[in-house]
Amino acid sequence: MIRALTTRRTDLAPFLLLLPAVAVMLFVVALPLLFSLWTSLTPYKLTKPASLYVFIGADNYLRLLSDPAFWVPFGRTVLFLTIALNLEFALGLGIALLINQITWGQRGLRTIMMFPMMFSPILVGFQFKFIFNDNIGILNNALQSLGITDQAIPWLVDGWLAMASILFAEMWMSTSVFAILLLAGLFAMPRDPVEAARVDGCNPWQVFRHITLPFLMPFAFIAMTIRSLDVARAYDIVKVMTGGGPAGRTELLWTLIARTGYENAQMGKANAMAYISTLLSIAFTVYFYRKLMAARRFMGGVQ
């Protein structure tokens, strides 16, 4: 009764309350995106201001679609994200199950796990540039001191090793997000279904597969959604660790955008790439958001 009255009386209130948020997002993100769309349809170069007003249709996009110099970094980015997110989820789940078993110092361990989350991505990149440095890095120093290898391993100089090092840095930074949210899920899990399943003769694997895991999935998808809001922060790591090198072997979509737009001043082309990268991020987010909604419905968590 009261609720119905108040909501009717203040019908405009939610819109007024949301107005500043919507206005900021429209002005600072949506409007520039429109401008970006226009620019991506021109041959705009920073060095030739007049070229901003030349309309060339989808030329930039068509040229990108047929250019391996674009496709290779694009494919590498999608592959990188897929591998990183899957490994982070698997590792995070393992860590959460592990910490859940520990009976002492759980809080302290959880606090330590938040440590990597608070590092600026640029710092994570720097930190691993320092550690993986082939000459003075602690990793090579340790391997050589222990006699495992007598030669310096060129972690950031070899193409494949550099990509693996970047993947490691990315996982170091982001696995905690999964571990902490999945651990929160484990803490919140009711004991009864597990006990009941045990009594009914389920083995530990069956309990995990059919009770624990479905219960944890919403938490996993929250982690995925939070992560996918911010996948492009791998840019910072690559930028400081390898700068896209050696010879473009660690170039991701985002470093390619920066190179094309700012270093080569080809803003038209760069904006077309930027649009594709934005659609990629949105695709990831929408995918996980829908999974989250589905998992919530499955759990009956909707109020």
Partner: protein
């Protein structure tokens, strides 16, 4: 059997903690070592000298100085992160309250729309913002970066604060309104105090996002007027030889405020992330 299992758990946890802590601790330790010890071959494992010289060099206290104005970068970072956090919190509280307490048409679409605008990669957003801000004359100013960071923080702040308000039973504010409070008074005297710690942790999250951001800042700032710490860190790599010790010292300056803030609010942050998301 039980003992073996305990041992395995203990070893696994220990290894995990080593992997999580050693990289950061090594950087922090190296910030207190002289460069020649970092570069030494064969490597020096146990530090022979611990010194504050690297920090002295950065801030220009000692005899030796480096050409990177870390002091100004620190101030810029503080001003930009604090201002954008305060503004984002104000906007986010209004928005979060609207989502938590009102039913209105298009609610889910507006929410998803806000989130999707947040997913635009920083470097992709930087291109048009760079062009527009240049025309508006706010490139390389703190204002230009603050505006962008507000937009970066609003969606996630709304998500977190929405979750915190949802946890407060609706009946409390209704009871207050029956007793003669206006809706505003009910919010200010009952719901806000209850959600306060959650809102604080949303603020910390926003602060850290701004404090740590690099992709946009690296393109929208150029001089000591507006460059932030993460952008300044790359000044070191532009030099002929990399000053590892100096970079490590600067890394410590970036990470310490972040760590302190995180430890203050970690409990609320986890609660906000999970419950805001699960019970949507």
């Amino acid at each position: 059997m039980k003992r073996v299992r305990g041992m395995v758990l203990w070893v696994a946890t220990f290894l995990l903690m080593v992997v999580m802590c050693v990289p950061g601790l090594w950087v922090i330790l190296s910030a207190f070592r002289p460069n020649r010890e970092i570069l030494a071959k064969p490597p020096v494992w146990v530090p022979e000298t611990l010194t504050l010289d690297n920090f002295g060099k950065i801030f220009g206290w000692g005899a030796e100085q480096i050409a990177i104005p870390v002091g100004s970068y620190f101030l810029n970072s503080m001003v930009i992160a604090l201002t954008s956090t305060v503004i984002a919190l104000g906007i986010g509280m209004a928005g979060g309250y609207a989502f938590a307490r009102f039913r209105f048409r298009g609610k889910n679409s507006v929410f998803l729309g806000l989130m999707l605008l947040r997913t635009v990669p920083g470097i992709a957003l930087s291109l048009p913002v760079f062009m527009l801000w240049s025309r508006l004359g706010i490139i390389d100013t703190k204002l230009g970066l603050i505006i962008v960071y507000v937009s970066l923080n609003v969606p996630f702040t709304i998500w977190l604060i929405d979750g915190f308000f949802r946890q407060i039973p609706l009946s409390l504010s209704e009871a207050a309104q029956v007793d003669g409070c206006t809706r505003w008074q009910a919010f200010w005297k009952i719901e806000f105090p209850l959600a306060k710690s959650g809102i604080a942790s949303a603020g910390v999250f926003a602060f850290l996002t701004s404090w740590n951001e690099f992709a946009l800042a690296s393109q929208l700032t150029r001089s000591t007027d507006s460059k932030t710490l993460p952008v300044g860190l790359l000044d070191f790599t532009a030099q002929f030889t990399i000053d590892w010790a100096g970079m490590c010292a600067m890394a410590v300056i970036i990470i310490v405020p972040a760590l302190i803030l995180t430890f203050l609010v970690q409990k609320h942050l986890i609660a906000g992330l999970t419950f805001g998301g699960v019970k949507g």
